[in-house]
């Protein structure tokens, strides 16, 4: 069984390598300028015996929004969670390949804490802690040892402003965060991530639990945030990817089928499967 799988891995690896080199040329011509923030090379991931990612290569550019799209179970969330090593929490996950963020291989250095302060995350459902709004946003900095009240106050205000929610909550900072609406909660989650002053923010379908108006607000926020942060967002909503992202990667069955400027993915996809997916023929 394991033998079979290892051959299939190599096959997949070769396949993607070939395609990647071909894409590499087109990328150079087509990609808007931008420096690479995250460099993923030949990433394979196994849940026990089951392989979920097959030889993924991906260059994520600094201060851009990169969208990961694809049908359910295609590995896009799994991939996202490798970037801040959240998959470490799951028993039996094995990973091979390299992920380099700012010249540092995150699976070689073992400082997960430092990685996660640098790479923040916003989850599918708002997951604020049962504490006040203030305490939620100040949670991360406090755990890093910041105790100074003035410094914390400033940080909380900046973060909430950064997440475009300050005006809505400034008068109720000390009340429970769970009393806010879903959309407000999700923006406080973003503020909580911002408070760590990360470089990269990962978002795992951040609007899937929100109503259309809240979704719009979060999308506007993401667009505004990219001048300061590198954002990687998983979305099942193709319109959303088209609206807010600079680059789009299309995942299918644990492989990256196509990765290009978002405009190209949606207007002139190179792969038939991408075209079928973005035109709504499956998924």
């Amino acid at each position: 069984m394991s033998r079979l799988m290892s051959t299939s891995v190599i096959e997949h690896g070769e396949l993607t390598t070939k395609k990647q080199s071909w894409e590499g040329i087109s990328q150079m011509e087509q990609f808007k300028e931008g420096t690479t923030k995250i460099n993923v090379k030949d990433l394979n991931l196994f849940y026990g015996e089951k392989q979920a990612l097959f030889g993924v290569y991906l260059d994520i550019h600094e201060k851009q929004v990169t969208a990961l799209i694809g049908p359910s179970g295609c590995g896009k969330s799994t991939f996202l969670r490798t970037l801040n090593r959240m998959n470490d929490l799951i028993d039996g996950v094995k990973i091979s390949g390299d992920i380099v963020i700012d010249h540092e291989n995150i699976y070689k250095t073992n400082d997960v804490i430092k990685l996660r302060t640098k790479v923040g995350m916003v989850f599918q459902k708002p997951n604020l802690f049962p504490m006040s709004i203030y305490d939620n946003v100040a949670y991360g900095p406090r755990m890093q040892g910041i105790k100074n009240k003035k410094e914390l106050n400033k940080l909380v205000e900046e973060s909430l402003r950064g997440a475009a929610i300050w005006d809505e909550v400034k008068d109720r900072l000390k009340t429970s965060a769970l009393g806010l609406s879903g959309g407000q909660q999700q923006r406080v989650c973003i503020a909580r991530a911002i408070a760590m002053k990360p470089d990269v923010i990962l978002m795992d379908e951040p609007t899937s639990a929100l109503d259309p108006i809240s979704t719009l607000k979060v999308e506007e926020l993401i667009t505004a945030m990219k001048k300061d942060y590198t954002i990687v967002i998983v979305t099942h909503n193709m319109q959303q990817a088209a609206r807010i992202s600079d680059k789009t990667a299309f995942f299918l069955n644990g492989e990256v089928v196509e990765y290009d400027d978002t405009d190209n993915i949606f207007s002139t996809p190179q792969d038939q499967r991408t075209e079928d997916y973005v035109t709504g023929r499956f998924g």
Binding site: L89, I113, N127, M143, R192
Partner: protein, 275 residues
């Protein structure tokens, strides 16, 4: 036909509910009816007199001592054990065995614990018949209760809290102390309330480890008598049901007060975190 079945079933449910409430009311009513005449300030706060007519203050103090000492020892150990089993231990045969063992421990009759306490704490550790020996025995009795309820409480803390905290670059220990344990606190507290009930209600194990000295304890190393033991002894020795019932009233009130204050604290905690 279906309607008839429905009515029958409803009737059955109603009767069961009525019966259980009725029994409770009857017992409490009986105790109050028999004992209320004896309740007075001097009965509750007066010193005990072997010739009769004295109060039960020494027994109340002894009962409070045993509750406090047992909980002070059992609560931290129980919580730590539960945290280890639930959050740190690799889930496997060993953990399953430990769980099975703690579950079995809750089912052992307390007289067995009493015998163990009498041999180990009283004799081997030379603590003598004393409040401390009884409290240590009670600690062993309530430990499984606290471990089980804390484990259940930890299980109900959503994974999203853990993920949210860890994704902010916190350590496992920080996440545990700042997010997981506070969220589990109401559950932990209910375990402690259950334990208090178990301690107050215990008699056999205390009888064998603290003895029956009916006097104000000098220290926790003195032999003394708790309320339940007192109730048992007065019934046994003099057949004084009224006195026993009066002690029962005091016990019921103590448990009521403890439960109410615990619910109050738990509500306060919830409000502080949820609203």
């Amino acid at each position: 036909m279906i309607q008839l079945k429905d009515k029958l079933l409803r009737g059955l449910l109603w009767i069961s509910a009525f019966l259980s409430v009725a029994v409770l009311v009857m017992i409490v009513g009986f105790i109050f009816y028999k004992g209320i005449n004896l309740i007075s300030f001097s009965f509750i706060f007066g010193d005990y007199s072997p010739t009769g007519g004295g109060g039960i203050w020494p027994m109340i103090v002894t009962t409070i001592y045993t509750i406090l000492i047992s909980l002070i020892i059992a609560t931290p150990i129980g919580i730590f054990a539960a945290v280890y089993l639930q959050e740190y231990a690799k889930q496997g045969r060993l953990v399953r065995t430990i769980r099975f063992a703690t579950e079995s421990l809750t089912g052992i009759p307390s007289i067995i614990y009493g015998l163990f306490g009498a041999v180990f704490f009283v004799t081997t550790l030379k603590l003598g018949m004393s409040i401390i020996a009884a409290s240590l025995t009670l600690t062993i009795i309530v430990l499984p209760v606290i471990i089980r309820t804390t484990e259940e409480a930890l299980k109900t803390v959503p994974l999203s809290y853990r993920e949210g905290s860890l994704a902010l670059g916190t350590t496992k220990l920080q996440t545990l102390y700042k997010v997981i344990l506070p969220s589990a606190m109401p559950g932990v507290l209910s375990g402690i309330i259950l334990s208090i009930g178990r301690i107050v209600g215990e008699s056999a194990a205390i009888f064998l480890t603290a003895g029956t000295v009916a006097a104000m304890p000098d220290s926790i190393f003195s032999s003394a008598r708790t309320l339940t033991v007192h109730a048992y002894l007065v019934t046994q020795e003099s057949g004084d049901i009224e006195l026993a019932a009066a002690v029962g009233i005091v016990l019921i009130v103590i448990i009521l007060v403890i439960n109410l204050s615990a619910t109050f604290i738990s509500k306060k905690l919830n409000r502080a975190t949820n609203k």
